[in-house]
Amino acid sequence: MKVSDELLSQHGITESEYRKIVGILKREPTLTELGIFSVMWSEHCSYKSSRVHLRRLPTRGPAVLQGPGENAGIIDIGDGLAVAFKIESHNHPSYIEPFQGAATGVGGILRDIFTMGARPIAAMNSLRFGPPKDVKTKHIVEGVVGGIAFYGNCFGVPTVGGEVVFSNCYTQNPLVNAFALGIFRKDQIFYGRATGVGNPVIYVGAKTGRDGIHGATMASAGFGEDAGAKRPNVQIGDPFMEKLLLEACLEAMHKGLILGIQDMGAAGLTCSGCEMGARAGTGVEMELDHVPQREQNMTAYEIMLSESQERMLLVADKSREKEVFEVFHKWGLDAVTVGRVTADGLLRVRHHGEIVAEIPNKALADEGPVYQRPLMPPASAPGGKFDLYPFLDGCSSLAGVFLEADANPGNQDYNRLLKLAAGSPNLACKQWVWEQYDHMVQSNTMMGPGSDAAVIRVKGTKKALAMTLDGPGYRIARHPREGAKLAVAEACRNIVCSGGRPLAATNCLNFGNPEHPEVMWQFSEVVDGMSEACNTFDTPVTGGNVSFYNETLGEDIYPTPVIGMVGVIEDLSLVTPSSFVDAGDAILLVETAQLLNGRVDLEEEKALQNFVADAIRRRLVKSAHDLSEGGLAVAIAESCFSNFHRKAEGAEVEIPSRNGVCRDLFGDYTSRIILTTTEPRELRRSAENAGLACLDLGKVGGRLLILKYEGHRAVDIAINELETAWRQGLPQLL
């Protein structure tokens, strides 16, 4: 075959990469082989720009059973149990077709979890959109949320948490990051390994069509004017099929029928085939004529690159092939032997009697190009207008009001400002979103969406799991390294407030074009900040995902790492709500000695978290809520609002005077937590022993929220009126 420059560029393969391919094969590749290399060596699958940096992340710890390198990370939670969890991006597909893009993103991350043998028991998602008043954004929000609901609800996994953030930089590049977590016995973990020469390689699940061919390459390039032209790639999700696949896979696993298994996600049959071979040091031979096909006359190229959803590849012991078929047929699924494990380390593909590809598995999976791309700090970060009020980013109309109040704090109507803040897109109640998600199925949800961390009990034990997603984008854009530390600190703080101990993290690194030195600099800084913080909190990173090329017409998004943190709550009775519990409880503010903004002192933060964790263990705490965007006023208001199980409770509070009323009410200073208790004295004493400031703010109770400042009532508002503003914020915009 004559390989033209044009063909190479269509495949996103550079000159030098091509020379490397020819060197590996010692001949020119076939078209099918070129396609295979192009997806496996794409940014999305090979991590060619990020790999050198990701190595710096801490990945080991006493609880870690499996770090990066498999389909998901795994940690030990005691009682003989383990959890597998991971986060993945589906940004590009969700822009092209919001509903199906988001739906198949959920489908993909769920497969990553159950392919390891774990039953998914919780899902979360982190979403970024342009400002909600934009008509196109409305459509994307509706589609993305609808798609996540469609897939997760039908599959039967509770979607228990996540984030929704609006900012201008995501208008053309919405971010959809999906997280899933599953549970299993720690002696029943499955890996994606093609072991045992001569064993059958079995294809299960949906038939292959021409869906999403080149999805991985699409996610490895920015959008130009022609984003629409890339549309034929769209895959359709079938959550019903995936639910059957889950049940059938787990049943086959528990019967001991499966030696190795991997889902077909990005790069489909190609990726699962060569990765399973590479991990086991074996070859994999496939006959494409046996692959179940939905469409007529598919070429080898198309079959190998198809990203049809809801498919898995597995290797079984040859003596048990028939039993595998029986399990899958019981669940009404296709299961077909499409090849064998061989000893020669090659991915050998036959079609219509001919060999159409023959490539060393390791060359595809492990020996992809690795780039040390140039780094350069950007000339300027986004202006620091919102350092104290990051929630204003993306709300141009509100921004003026608050910046004016910041400059002239004296003569403002703070009732009005608090209502505006509470109802602003980034702070408003996200119930419009999560009410569409089934967050209760599996009957484990103790704290669902809306709390600091989601908490689900672990049936058969006294324990619960806490989990959260955090990605303070504006902060990170301003200062990538400090922002990344903040993200990790905040994620851990959320776990601690719910009564848990953070154990390990996963992360999704959403960035612009890695060929821009500024973007690579941001990336490198974020990795360093994250590493430092994860080391401090003893929360190793067990896996994650990198999404580059979130750019349109040369405009990169903010660097947007999203941290997924998982922790354990040792006893169900320690689960702590973020909302106030009883009238009469004392409200305390605990904080570090110095008041920081936009950065975090990790050691002090750790002392704060240790103090709160200890106080919860000593049963001194009735509620704990961490302060973040919107500051003290918004945090207290949120703790007052009603939730499913409790009416609203007002509060009367004295706001400490420090930097002026507007800043003291709404300023986002780091490392602060509000606690309620019946034992304020004991708590204050312990806090002081730990070197922390602990202030008596006031009491829970009444129908009003009263915030006193320097002796007068800065805020004095009916809690119901405030809550209405908060609840109506999002529905009104959408």
């Binding site: 039908c154 959550p239 999560w434 199980h645």
Partner: protein, 222 residues
């Protein structure tokens, strides 16, 4: 006394129902596979929530053709206790074991939340531990829970006290705020809200447990 929980392809509250019966109310329970043709040996049958057959075509439409449904039909005919929760309710309607149908929510969206349910009658084997007018704190999670029946059917339901539960605040457009009904024999209940998700205080409410306990009472005195 033995409960059976039917598993259709796509059921996803099957394990939740099983857990409540086994671990919360402490009664024997087994799964029933949708291909089974007999339900012999069971005293009460649960059609759980979920998305049987993906809810494709219409919710419950394809599930009603599962072989087990003829057995469930006969079981009901003979007076056996059958409860359909959420998707189970939809299946019972499609199968003709309960009248009416469940349409898309008027808001067009799936809704998952807690709400207040009013008990309209204690005169059923599913509500004998409740009193008329008693409010239950219980969640819903559905996209198609908008109950519809023609005027004549509705009148029959109302006149015979067959509306078992009503929403205090209608979340989906259901006619007459109906959340749950029984058949003429009062031994088949369909309800959209989830007692299986609200049978333990740590999950926010234990009110749903009263429905399962009523069934146990009914079976004991039978």
């Amino acid at each position: 006394m033995k409960f059976g929980v039917v598993i259709f392809p796509g059921s996803n509250c099957d394990h939740d129902c099983y857990y409540v019966i086994e671990s919360v109310i402490g009664k024997p329970v087994e799964f029933i596979w949708h291909q089974d043709t007999s339900v012999q040996g069971f005293d009460a049958i649960v059609l759980p929530g979920g998305f049987a057959y993906g809810d494709y075509l219409r919710t419950g439409a394809l599930a009603r053709f599962s072989p087990v449904m003829s057995a469930v039909g006969e079981f009901a005919q003979q007076g056996g206790l059958v409860i359909g929760i959420c998707n189970g309710f939809q299946i019972l309607c499609e199968a003709g074991l309960l009248p009416g149908a469940l349409l898309k929510n008027v808001g067009m969206k799936y809704v998952c939340k807690y709400l207040q349910l009013r008990t309209e009658t204690a005169q059923t084997p599913f509500t004998n531990a409740l009193s008329k007018g008693q409010l239950l704190h219980i969640p819903i999670g559905h996209g198609e829970g908008n109950y519809f029946a023609d005027a004549e059917t509705l009148k029959r339901l109302e006149d015979n006290g067959r509306v078992v539960f009503r929403y205090m605040e209608n979340p989906n457009g259901s006619i007459h705020d109906i959340a749950g009904i029984v058949n003429g024999g009062r031994n088949v209940l369909g309800m959209m809200p989830h007692p299986d998700r609200s049978s333990e205080a740590i999950l926010g409410s234990a009110d749903g447990k009263l429905i399962f306990e009523s069934m146990v009472n009914a079976l004991v005195t039978k």
